[in-house]
Symmetry: C2
């Protein structure tokens, strides 16, 4: 197959032998998965949005110690907003029907809860670590912060879920754009619209983003084997980002019950849901999603839905139930199961030739 | 590129030089588009679900007269149900807010309204015409009817929107399966579930259907140029079905306002909606969809939402408004505009080599 436009440019941006990126997946992986991918010639990613400052430093240091290969540190760029009392009460009400089974939900979210957006404090701690690649989800940080990241030499990736978002990112000078199709597991990277009908399938998104921007495009969503890599390149992508296919790797920290749910679920058994965090994300349909409808009005702003749901989730998990657990996966889990991440990279790389 | 599994089998099923199918698009095309596609080596399709018996005969005869090439006659297989009084009243209520602008909606749907399912009477009229290929949407007709279609030599295609639907169709002996990804314009072919969260993107659907069934798989949804054809084959499809890319052809009967809306809309400006017919279909977001939400509880069973909406639509269209008009299109309209359908086939065929 002919090289796609931007292939050489993308490899120079990533600094890797292969244009294959392991998607950052907060909560189900740390440095171990990223290291295994880096060693195999892909770009390993460390999801930092749910890590405390000390953990970010420790995990990046672990990668640096383990490999000289480039890696990616991923951050969220949501605009943080505390829920109003009414918003907290609405979510507590929605969860109150489970009180008889699992105890009452909390009335509000703890202040400064999980998943902080990229800010000056994060930039301060990141500067001496200077990850070769930094990727952003939910848009980009403020221009001065973005300039700081650039100033220490990190190359910048960001996710677009629509052609409009891709243009927006290209105008702000990102080095490459991840075109995240609606098949992808986990959180949608969308930031210009909250309307989920805007979300476009990978097959339609990739070629239209390629035509709309001048930077290399990385296809994401539904890619889980060499066929998918080959198809993404045929659509004009310069590389791919793969998430779900790594969830059953030994280097991932995916919980046993989550692994079992991934193995047992059909591609049509996922949905976009905002119930687990307040923002739409794709996961396996659970009791909570069936009860409240996967996309609801009740959840408070991201990420407070998660923190207020936490006690219910913990109580259910203690009884062996995943009824209230986010079970992220995309619409194509592929066939890898228990295979080391380096082997997954090698299998995916067969789609490059 | 290596030939995909089932390529030779698919060509023998279709009887065409090229594994390229023009999607049947009821309401925006007749025999003229099908003839142009057949003459260019693709499989032209005639949508029959909205045609009276005489028109089916006339249109198929027109194709037979114009070309010796094989063609496809497409039918719907929904289970027809008249709306209850309560269902009609609910839909009339939902539309009543427009009464001041456009006059009151009808209180019920005319009996025996448009879009009849494939039944014995249709089989009777089709038998002497014996289309080389017959395709079904919304499942399959009853086994005895399906056996009749087979008995006169027609090859049978049907649409699957999930892996489960693909398996169901394969078990019933269809000759090839159209894997309709969520990007596709117009009506979803889904029939095992009414839940739209089950709908899978083309990138994830095609390889998983290929792995699940033994018959050739035709990829549909988001394919609008040679890149898409190449990518579909890379995913394991034996051929493709393309709809939206033909909507601006001179041989299509797409209304001028619909053509303008297609040209002016972004890929992220479509949604799945059940408001226009009672079943989910992808079209450009309109005022009706914004007002009621694209997927609503109010519409009566397919196709009665359409017939009760007709007066409002007609009144608005008379004033030059498409606020209540179904503006079907997929998430990738491609770049063809005013190009004859034969040229579109030739452009798509560049993705085959």
């Amino acid at each position: 197959m002919a090289q796609s436009p931007g292939s050489a440019t993308l490899l120079s941006v990533l600094g890797t032998p292969l244009p294959l990126i392991q998607a950052p997946m907060a909560g189900v992986q740390g440095s171990a998965l990223a290291i295994a991918v880096c060693r195999a010639g892909g770009l390993g990613s460390l999801p930092c949005a749910m890590l405390a400052s000390e953990a970010i430093i420790a995990e990046i240091t672990a990668i640096r110690v383990a490999t000289d290969a480039p890696f990616n540190a991923n951050f969220f760029c949501h605009v943080r907003r505390e829920p109003s009392e009414a918003e907290s009460a609405r979510w507590a009400d929605a969860l109150a029907s489970y009180a008889a089974e699992f105890g009452p939900p909390p009335k509000s979210s703890p202040k400064g809860a999980s998943r902080r957006p990229f800010d000056a404090a994060v930039a301060d701690l990141l500067e001496p670590l200077a990850p070769p690649v930094v990727s952003f989800h939910f848009g980009l940080p403020a221009p001065d912060l973005l300039a700081r990241v650039r100033s220490w030499g990190s190359r910048i990736l960001a996710s677009a879920t629509t052609v409009a978002e891709a243009r927006w990112l290209a105008e702000r000078g990102v080095d490459a754009i991840i075109a995240q199709g609606v098949e992808a597991g986990g959180h949608r990277g969308s930031f210009l619209s909250e309307e989920i009908t805007t979300q476009v399938g990978t097959f339609a998104l990739v070629p239209q983003v390629v035509d709309a921007v001048g930077v290399p495009v990385i296809a994401a969503g539904g890619i889980a084997d060499a066929r998918g890599v080959r198809a993404a390149l045929a659509l004009g992508a310069a590389g791919v980002q793969v998430g779900t296919a790594f969830l059953l790797c030994p280097e991932a920290t995916t919980a046993p019950a989550h692994r079992a749910a991934i193995r047992d679920s059909a591609p049509e058994e996922t949905a976009l849901t905002n119930l687990y965090s307040g923002r739409p994300a794709r996961g396996i349909v659970t009791r909570l999603m069936r009860d409240l409808g996967p996309m609801g009005e009740a959840p408070p702003p991201f990420p407070h839905a998660s923190t207020m749901l936490a006690p219910l989730r913990a109580a259910a998990e203690a009884r062996g139930s995943t009824d209230f657990t986010p079970l992220w996966r995309g619409q194509n889990r592929g066939a890898f199961d228990g295979i080391p991440a380096g082997e997954v990279i090698r299998a995916l790389s067969e789609g490059l030739s």
